[in-house]
């Protein structure tokens, strides 16, 4: 695919002024909706993870009429719930030198200088409020004996700023946001629509004015109108089939919005998390993360001798290669995720990998258990060790864990400006679904922070400004546009059901995943990416000619749900590969083999690629158009990222 590249300035609406005044200034200048008028506005929130639940609850509290949609049977099940390790905030409780500026700096550097400075600063600025809010909701964060909040360290930082609830922080934060949401449901300010799949966005007179969704129990195609649509639908990791995402996570809502005019930014920035339980067999349906927090106490190693086949307990210290401590003495086992993942791949590719497949490294707690005692380790990571044992049938208190990198998080997402508004006015994108804060690599414990920052402290202001500053005509679902798009959605379902071929959705999805993992994984090159684009196109044709879906559209039909999502992954995957192909540099999670230093570190090209790549949909089977948002670093000097 040859890409038409055009320089067009996307207006990110970043306020002028010093970076620590921008958000204050933005809030001061935004228009307000008066309390009595809020009830005249309807807002749709799609997705009920940290971003969606917090936004829906906060907007309901303000007095708007909110409709909240999720594909799960309850909003409490969104995949934010699976986040383990913690949430960052610049509270500086440990008195170890943290500050808003330092959290901002670490996040910009951790993202390999590919995020928008102003957004990241705001994120750091509101991080403390998030902790206060969650504590007030009754989130039982870990405490010191004196009753104050406890912290631990996460990758890419030299301070302890991570707040946590054992290894289930995401669960507790989501239940906090969910409880706030349930309170608004009880108050009549939020109406819940569980088991709904968003199938399309309705744009009227240039503004996002509603959605088309499918009731996953009855199969009914429903239309909903509103004055603003908030997309909080998470990431696209399941394009790789095997990932740490929940099985239902998908790109459909974001992709459908993309096809209605929302630019998709930096889709090639995919995070491969270094510490996951390795793949075991061809039947594998998903991968399970072992929290990054484990690297606080676990040491990563492989044998020094390629041919060492002894069990780990029999390999003495002098024969072990603690390769992260060796290569990165300053950060050791706490290097950022992209660095740790590539280092594991490098050792395994060189033949030092362990386990049956040779695609694993050890994560060893022997020293930590000897020094701190088993009880202390159990208190910090008990549920993670429990989970590891359930899956592998091995006891990590006795033998080292075996881990390998796996697809985990999408830094890329729909392009948004400083208001979190996409290129479709009235369509806001929050949390993992947007591209804004993590650049080319996300630091651990920052996803929860971003989801809640967007939902609690950014969108409630900026959505109000949209409502107050634009004249929106009266639109209901009786508008012909709703009917037109609902018919399109129905036809698409009919088309899927009418293929009646020979291959299951699972089978085709696995094949897509293999293409993505082999060519768009931890290391990429031009040849592989070009081949991937070709293979994805062929597989897309194969899908539309040979997929087999039983049943009808008018019933609970999980194969049909999967097929709809897969159809969109088969389009999206090509854009991901295209973006990776065009970005002729290595940065963060995007590692191009052609662009590396002599000691295999990523080589960035700031002269040519210091921009966010925002792709505009031009029509099916037509090249997407590239728009560039230049990234300007006024506060943080562009340097080569080093953790040595």
């Amino acid at each position: 695919m040859s890409t038409a590249t055009e320089h067009q300035n996307l207006d990110a609406r970043v306020p002028d002024g010093p970076i620590d005044q921008k958000w204050t200034r933005c809030k001061n200048e935004m228009k307000l909706v008066s309390p009595n008028n809020k009830r005249k506005y309807d807002i749709i929130v799609v997705g009920t993870g940290l971003a969606g639940a917090s936004a829906a609850a906060s907007l309901g509290e303000l007095g708007y009429n909110v409709k909240a949609f999720c594909y799960q049977d309850s909003p409490r099940r969104a995949h934010s719930i699976a986040a383990q390790g913690g949430i960052n905030a610049a509270k500086n409780y440990p008195n170890d030198g943290d500050s808003v500026w330092r959290l901002f700096y670490d996040t910009v550097k951790g993202g390999d200088f590919r995020a928008r400075e102003s957004n990241v600063y705001r994120l750091a600025e509101v991080s403390g409020n998030i902790i206060d809010q969650c504590v007030a909701q009754g989130v039982p964060f870990a405490r010191e004996y004196g009753g104050t909040l406890a912290n631990r360290t996460f990758g890419g930082a030299q301070v302890s700023r991570t707040f946590y609830c054992r290894g289930q922080t995401g669960q507790q934060l989501l239940l906090g946001a969910y409880s706030a949401l349930m309170r608004q449901v009880a108050a009549g300010k939020v109406e819940l629509f569980p088991r709904r799949e968003m199938l399309d966005l309705v744009v009227v007179e240039g503004n996002a004015r509603g959605i088309v969704c499918r009731n996953m129990v009855t199969g009914e195609i429903e239309t909903h109108a509103a004055h603003a649509v908030l997309l909080c639908t998470g990431g696209y990791g399941n394009a790789y089939y095997l990932s740490t995402n929940a099985k239902g996570c998908n790109v459909t809502a974001a992709w459908r919005c993309h096809k209605r005019g929302a630019y998709f930014a930096n889709p090639c920035y995919t995070q491969i998390h270094p510490t996951c339980i390795p793949v075991k067999g061809a039947y594998q349906s998903k991968l399970t993360l072992m929290s990054e927090s484990l690297r606080n106490d676990g040491r990563v190693w492989v044998p020094k001798d390629v041919n060492d086949s002894r069990p780990p307990s029999e390999i003495p210290e002098e024969d072990r290669d603690y390769y992260l401590e060796r290569r990165y003495p300053a950060f050791g086992n706490m290097v950022p995720r992209d660095v740790a993942s590539r280092a594991a791949k490098e050792r395994c590719d060189a033949g030092f990998g362990v386990g049956e497949t040779g695609l694993a490294v050890y994560l060893d707690f022997k020293l930590a258990i000897a020094e701190q005692g088993r009880d202390a380790i159990e208190a910090k990571y008990g549920n993670l060790f429990h989970m590891y044992k359930k899956i592998t049938d091995e006891d990590p208190y006795q033998v080292p864990m075996r881990i390998y990198p796996a697809v985990h998080y999408a830094m890329g997402g729909l392009w948004v400006d400083y208001h979190l508004e996409s290129t479709v006015p009235g369509l806001f994108v929050l949390g993992e679904a947007n591209f804004s804060d993590h650049g080319a690599n996300r630091l651990g414990a920052s996803a929860l922070m971003q989801g809640l920052a967007d939902g609690y402290f950014v969108a409630p202001y900026t959505v109000g400004h949209h409502l107050a500053s634009r004249s929106l005509s009266s639109v209901t679902t009786a508008h012909p546009k709703f009917k037109e798009i609902a018919v399109e959605a129905r036809n698409r379902i009919e088309r899927l059901l009418s293929v009646n071929g020979n291959r299951t959705t699972d089978d085709i999805h696995r094949q897509l995943g293999q293409i993505m993992w082999d060519n768009c994984g931890m290391a990429r090159n031009a040849q592989g990416l070009a081949a991937a684009i070709e293979q994805i196109r062929n597989l897309r044709d194969e899908f539309w000619q040979n997929v087999k879906i039983l049943g009808t559209g008018e019933e609970l039909n999980q194969s049909l749900e999967h097929a709809g999502r897969l159809a969109d992954f088969l389009e999206f995957g090509e854009l991901l590969a295209q973006d990776a192909l065009h970005r002729e540099e290595s940065c963060g999670g995007h590692f191009r083999e052609e662009h590396q230093t002599e000691d295999n570190e990523a080589r960035r090209d700031d002269e040519h690629f210091c921009y966010a790549a925002a792709w505009e949909f031009q029509g099916d089977d037509t090249d997407e158009k590239l728009h560039k948002e230049p990234l300007r670093f006024n506060e943080v000097e562009l340097t080569t990222r080093s953790y040595k």
Binding site: I81, G128, V135, A136, P140, T244, K390, T392, D393, E555
Partner: protein, 257 residues
């Protein structure tokens, strides 16, 4: 080291099939061969479903999402036990190494009046959301929060609270209970808040409203048989029900409205 002694399994499955809520269901029998003991239970069902689709029979519908034991979406009765034979385990974290070659496995949905079957093994658990809506929250708006360390919370209270808040809302407690009571679920939320200062202002109102909603949903009463605790994948203890009972009694005596 993954139990090499165990060979691959042949299984006889008896699975509840029901096409919709208002239609009668029935058990149907299926055979599966060559199942790896390292597979998860849901991966075993994935394989069955691939076979069924290839044969032109509708795949078995079952709820699942995170497949790592935390979202609470999955859940089925396996040989009469909620989430199957392994202790403190969701169905997605149950592995086939807990079964033997030649076993018959009977798989049913959660059975409770308050959890109507939607299809096959999928039930509607919205009643749980409504119990939370009745009072499972602290009434605080975004932006109203005091400084996080303004309230000191003794570590044992925080830990005790988290033990209760660990509930994943899967419904196994209801399915395991002969009365189909959701008392463990309700108690977990009451106990979560009652051990924290944040929960204090609404403690009376909360427990009364949540119990009232619990009963309205059609869940049964608790008769202290503790089957719920035995089935709970998140290790939520029945001691939280005892705490709920104390709270409820206190509330009945002191409620002013």
């Amino acid at each position: 080291m993954t139990n090499p002694a165990k060979k691959r399994l042949s299984l006889h499955l008896r699975i509840w099939r029901q096409s919709r809520t208002d239609e009668a269901g029935e058990f149907r029998d299926y055979q599966l061969q060559d199942i790896s003991p390292d597979m998860s239970f849901l991966e075993m069902l994935d394989i069955l479903n691939q076979q069924l689709i290839e044969q032109g029979e509708a795949p078995v519908a079952f709820d699942h999402d995170c497949r790592e034991g935390i979202c609470g979406t999955c859940g089925m009765m396996i040989n009469g036990q909620a989430h199957g034979p392994d202790h403190e385990t969701t169905t997605c974290q149950l592995h086939m190494r807990h079964f033997n070659d030649g076993d018959t496995i009977i798989i049913e949905p959660w059975r409770a009046r308050a959890f109507p079957v939607l299809r096959d093994l999928i039930v509607n658990r919205s009643a749980f959301d409504r119990i939370i809506q009745a009072g499972g929250y602290v009434s605080i708006k975004t932006g109203q929060a005091p400084e996080g360390n303004a309230n000191l919370i003794p570590q044992q209270h925080q830990e005790g609270s988290l033990d209760a808040a660990a509930c994943i809302g899967c419904g196994a407690c209801v399915a395991a209970c002969k009365n189909a009571s959701a008392m463990l679920f309700t108690a977990a939320k009451v106990s979560h808040f009652v051990q924290l200062p944040q929960g204090a202002p609404e403690r009376t109102k909360r427990v009364l409203a949540m119990i009232n909603q619990h009963d309205e949903e059609g869940f049964g009463a608790c008769t202290n048989t503790s089957e719920c605790e035995a089935a709970c994948p998140a290790a939520v203890s029945v001691s939280h029900i005892a705490r709920l009972n104390r709270e409820y009694l206190k509330a009945m005596l002191t409620a002013t409205d």
